[in-house]
């Protein structure tokens, strides 16, 4: 099992494409950090008008913790793409280059192969999140320093003391990893259905974008289905930055994500185990 996992990881990390994701995460982080360095004041004063009308806030609002939050929020849309880039390629990509049929003539059961490929995607996903923590959080802290963190929700202004922030980020990155695991499982599932790698990557992205829009639209019809969309739960990491961390809600969101992950993975195994390989 470990040997097979190592082989899958070897295949992932020997491919130049894999590092594009890490490059994109770095680039987006740097762009936001630069933007915050130059125009952060305006951005903040725009967002805080509702508060600064009545309150006088002094000190470095734009500190590392704040910038990290902005980066995380921005990357919410891109990271699924980067996860899909690898996870969506796990089966379809091998079908596309023709190695899948050779791989599947080896004495390994297909469910086991799926699990190994999923684990390999998971390792990649977690490394991507860890990298995001490095360039998003630690680099932001290095550039902007630490300080009390403000969090602007649509109906509340939240301030978190600086010695109370770090654990929240640890938890938030953990939650993000869970959310991305669900994405990885979905991309793998789509990958099992396809024989080319572009399809599942685009399909993953399409589903995430459409469902995210559904999740954020305030329409009665959508409000009914919202609780059942995994995209609604993917932003659960934000819960850790509330003054009263809604552990119940976060726990439920995490459960929904786990259920989705298991369902995606189960579907992948059930489908792929029966699939005739004609690629």
């Amino acid at each position: 099992m470990i040997k097979l996992l190592r082989i899958e990881l070897f295949k992932i990390f020997r491919r130049p494409r894999t590092y594009i994701s890490f490059g994109i995460v770095t680039a987006i982080s740097l762009i936001i950090q630069l933007a915050m360095l130059s125009g952060g004041k305006d951005f903040v004063s725009f967002g805080m008008q509702g508060v600064t009308d009545q309150f006088d806030i002094q000190g470095d609002i734009i500190n590392g913790y704040f910038v990290t939050y902005i980066i995380l929020q921005s990357l919410l849309v891109q990271i699924p793409l980067l996860v899909a880039l690898v996870a969506g390629d796990m089966l379809a990509g091998e079908a596309n280059i023709g190695t899948l049929r050779l791989l599947l003539t080896k004495p390994i059961s297909r469910p086991k192969l799926i699990m190994i490929k999923f684990l390999a995607s998971l390792v990649y996903t977690i490394l991507l999140i860890v990298w995001l923590a490095v360039v998003g959080l630690f680099l932001s802290l290095a550039i902007f320093g630490e300080g009390d963190m403000i969090n602007m929700k649509s109906d509340a202004f939240i301030m978190i003391l600086k010695n109370d922030v770090m654990w929240r980020y640890v938890a938030a990155f953990g939650f993000a990893a869970l959310a991305m695991t669900a994405i990885a499982a979905m991309a793998m599932m789509l990958s099992a259905f396809a024989d080319n790698s572009i399809g599942p990557i685009i399909a993953t992205m399409g589903i995430v974008v459409v469902l995210t829009i559904l999740s954020s639209l305030e329409l009665p019809l959508f409000n009914l289905i919202k609780p059942y969309l995994f995209t609604t739960h993917m932003i659960g990491w934000k819960g850790f930055f509330d003054d009263q961390v809604p552990y119940g809600a976060i726990g439920r969101s995490a459960s929904v994500l786990v259920i989705y992950t298991v369902a995606f993975l189960g579907t992948t195994i059930a489908y792929f185990n029966k699939k005739d390989i004609t690629s």
Partner: protein
């Protein structure tokens, strides 16, 4: 001894297309088993079923006497295969590709064995190059190395000469013969070209539209007695009468005043030719085809 592969009433339908239809055959240890059929006849589908890539709708497969199915994939460790193109991870070196598939073979394989198979397929020295830089022939040979690395008893080679230049085809042919003679491998090889099969195979199976047409020893199927000789002559009214009283009449299958077709031993053509000349029949051309080849061609037309 048990057949290394045996199928019983194997059938597979894709949607409405019947790819393989009630196919039964068996391959014995030591055979070079030629699998002949036009494109789309069901060769690849059959081979994929033997390898667990495609699941049969009905019928059974036995590998070394044990029934093979998706829960019994361990049996695959006694098979090495190239299915269609020898596709590999182009961004990895030949060595890395070989190592990956060796590790997946279910057997513990020492590095020395890797060098051994590279030597065998004549890729030693090029193993550190990325596979995407390989020629088609090199990829094919690396494919063979991968198929061989875990020392399987049976090699399944699907159209191994496809896309190769004449020199590559010749090399592949001698490699296949050497694997059989020097290394004792049983080989299942498919082709849509009869002459490729007849040059290497000891046994052969022709399939058409998923069904078995004929199976047997190549030496039997390609019996020289079964050669079809087509003769064209300058139109001659006396031809039929002359032939009718000759010893050749027993071989004639078809004739006009300008053409004759005989089914006979290919060795008798010079004698026949001499007889024609001696009887003042002006020969325009003499062509010989084996009856199996003619039959196979008729299938593909």
């Amino acid at each position: 001894m048990e057949p290394i592969i045996q199928t019983q009433h194997l059938s597979k339908t894709f949607k409405t297309f019947k790819a393989v239809d009630d196919l039964s055959f068996s391959i014995s240890h030591g055979d070079i088993y030629g699998f002949l059929g036009q494109n789309g006849a069901g060769k690849s589908t059959t081979m994929r079923m033997l390898l667990g890539l495609i699941y049969p709708d009905s019928g059974k497969i036995f590998i070394e006497g044990k029934e093979f199915n998706n829960n019994n994939r361990k049996l695959l460790s006694s098979i090495g295969a190239i299915i269609e193109r020898p596709d590999m991870y182009g961004y990895l070196s030949g060595w890395e590709n070989l190592k990956i598939f060796a590790a997946l073979s279910g057997k513990k394989i020492p590095e020395s064995r890797l060098y051994e198979v590279l030597e065998l397929v004549n890729l030693r020295g090029r193993e550190k190059d990325k596979v995407k830089a390989y020629s088609q022939g090199m990829k094919q040979r690396l494919g063979i190395a991968i198929a061989l690395v875990h020392s399987p008893n049976l090699l399944i080679l699907d159209e191994p000469t496809n896309g190769l230049d004449p020199q590559g085809i010749a090399e592949m042919r001698s490699l296949i013969l050497s694997l059989s003679h020097d290394h004792g491998k049983t080989i299942l090889i498919s082709s849509h070209l009869l002459y490729e099969i007849e040059q290497v195979a000891t046994k052969m199976l022709i399939i058409h539209k998923g069904k078995k047409v004929v199976e047997g020893k190549v030496s039997d199927l390609l019996n020289p007695e079964e050669t079809l000789v087509d003769i064209k002559v300058r139109p001659d009214e006396t031809l039929q009468a002359k032939l009718a009283v000759s010893e050749w009449t027993q071989f004639i299958t078809n004739q006009t005043h300008a053409t004759v077709t005989l089914k006979m031993n290919i060795a008798n053509i010079p004698t026949l030719n001499k007889w024609l000349v001696n009887n003042d029949i002006e020969v325009v051309s003499i062509n010989s085809t084996h009856s199996l080849e003619a039959y196979f061609l008729s299938l593909t037309q």
